[in-house]
Symmetry: C2
Subunit: 341 residues, 2 copies
């Protein structure tokens, strides 16, 4: 009863005393096959639960119908939104998706890329890990292109690797967010930045600093707090910051979760938001609109990035000549109560 090894085309051929070719053609409705033979074989195959072995097909056709997705983590809303976007489009086109989480490790990223290529995936969507930036090594990424496997950077690209990418302008998002605070009249603006050295943190940090400079506001090292993107890491330093004799009147947080933690501290210490302290986050997480007060933030369109990346991949399949575009999506400033006094 229990089929330990799956039934193959050969098993069926043996049963019908015919060749595997006949079975194959019968199952594929090949016109040159006898109608009776076809029906008999198909019925039998159905009965014994025959299912074509895609692995052998992959080998034969050098096509796996599988795409690789390499991301640094899965615990940020933005990342899962991207994957959702990818899935939305690729699902409809019959691709399977292999997901690899690098944990910001160069070694893991390299290892995964190699495994994906060994598995003969037909394309790779990759968000560069931090260690890869730091190490400066990108041989593994170039290898993908050497093998003629489409590579598409999503959200984080590696300059110098010539391929398609879809990213959001973090610098600009940060600049705009900061400027929004300034234009609303806030002058002493703190920044809850992401981990030091993380490119995405530094880009936003720079956007913040450059914006201050543009508006002739002196940069104050004391107003910078470094977080690990998690709420907890913001609590203590934020407490310290708000207890200064000259506390900030505005806060730009590297993401919404950190912003929510900061809001809690600010409220707990008796400041009013946004009258005394305005605050803006980053990501437009689902809950940001429903915090109290509702949180101004920067939308970076994770789902859209995924969908566009998938479309880019599909379009390039049809094209013969390879195009290399870098699509930089402008982030969207979303203004809510936390910055509207």
């Amino acid at each position: 009863m229990n089929q330990h090894t799956p039934v193959t085309i050969k098993d069926i051929a043996r049963k019908f005393k015919c060749s595997p070719s006949t079975v194959s053609r019968a199952l594929n409705n090949h016109p040159l096959i006898n109608e009776d033979t076809r029906r008999n074989i198909q019925e039998y195959a159905q009965k014994v639960g025959y299912q074509r072995n895609s692995v052998s097909l992959s080998l034969l056709n050098q096509k796996s119908n599988t795409l690789g997705v390499v991301v640094p983590s899965l615990n940020q809303f933005h990342e899962t939104a991207m994957i959702e976007g990818l899935q939305n489009i690729l699902q409809a086109n019959g691709y399977m998706m292999t997901i690899c989480v690098t944990n910001e490790s160069y070694t893991l990223e390299k290892e995964y890329v190699e495994k994906l290529m060994a598995n003969r995936v037909e394309g790779i969507f990759l968000s560069v890990s931090q260690e890869t930036y730091d190490s400066g090594h990108y041989q593994h990424l170039e290898n993908i292109l050497h093998r003629n496997i489409p590579l598409i950077f999503i959200d984080r690209e590696f300059d110098g690797v010539p391929t398609n990418s879809i990213i959001v302008d973090d610098y600009w998002g940060a600049f705009t967010a900061t400027e929004h605070l300034i234009l609303r009249g806030f002058k002493r603006i703190a920044h809850l930045k992401g981990p030091n050295g993380l490119t995405v943190s530094e880009k936003r940090f720079k956007g913040y600093k450059d914006c201050l400079a543009k508006h002739q506001i002196a940069f104050d090292e004391n107003l910078i707090i470094t977080t690990n993107f998690k709420a907890e890491s913001a609590i203590m330093p934020m407490h310290r910051l708000m207890s200064l004799e000259n506390p900030p009147d505005g806060v730009f947080a590297v993401n919404d979760v950190v912003a929510s933690a900061a809001m809690q501290v600010i409220r707990d210490l008796g400041f009013s938001i946004p009258q005394q302290v305005a605050i803006i986050g980053f990501d437009n997480s689902p809950f940001s609109a429903y915090m109290f007060p509702s949180l101004s933030t920067v939308n970076r369109f994770g789902k859209l990035i995924g969908e566009e990346a998938a479309r880019l991949f599909l379009n390039n399949l049809n094209l013969q000549t390879k195009q290399n575009e870098t699509i930089v999506l402008p982030p969207e400033l979303i203004i809510r109560s936390s910055t509207l006094s």
Copy 2:
């Protein structure tokens, strides 16, 4: 320069005028191979970027080193937490993970399961889609077991399919949450439920109702709001509910996002939380602790479920005799300010 087709063992054999067997053995450090040959071949392979074709290996060994993960969606914190948990453990054991999103569709679920089996995955982690429950069809799930592929239900199981599952007791979580409100003295408790017919919604709904019954509180149809798990869907009905002449003094929401939307409405209408209206959510999302007031909720340990599921899979590999356990994790009531007057 550009290797259009990847270099194979045969290419190398041709280069060295030897047989593929020799190359294979040289690359695998087989002891019976001449030291010079070995070195030369390895160096050359390295140089031309040879990489073993896993597809052919899968075919040969009938082992794909790939596991399938089938989930209804990716946009809930709980689901991505589970996947993160899976990845944490499976990554270390050299498995690749193919992720399929069913969108609660029976057809897609069936299709994906078939594709995964066609790809000869070595195990499937599956969270049953709603349509599958509704249709009552589970042949595709039994097929997995017939093929002797380990199947592990995560978060949502299908009764009657004898296999391992790791789930959280939704009924109990809802019961406890409701009881917490009652014990705190709230009597008129509304429930923002999930989509009608969705098993997980109904389980929580039943937990809520049974708890009311236990405490001799009459069930009031007017206090039930149906949402689609998204914040937006709660706004209007919640508005209506709070405008009744006899509004609720407690709210149990099917998840934290819906709870946050409800909180906003409650506040906007001038009620104080938790003095006039207490509210509790579900999921223990990362931001729930940082809302205002911080949101009481029910933790359902998504990451843990993923990790335990992975461990269960790995353990069962070693075991010869197949075990079928259903592990029901007790959810954890997390009490915060939104229910503490």
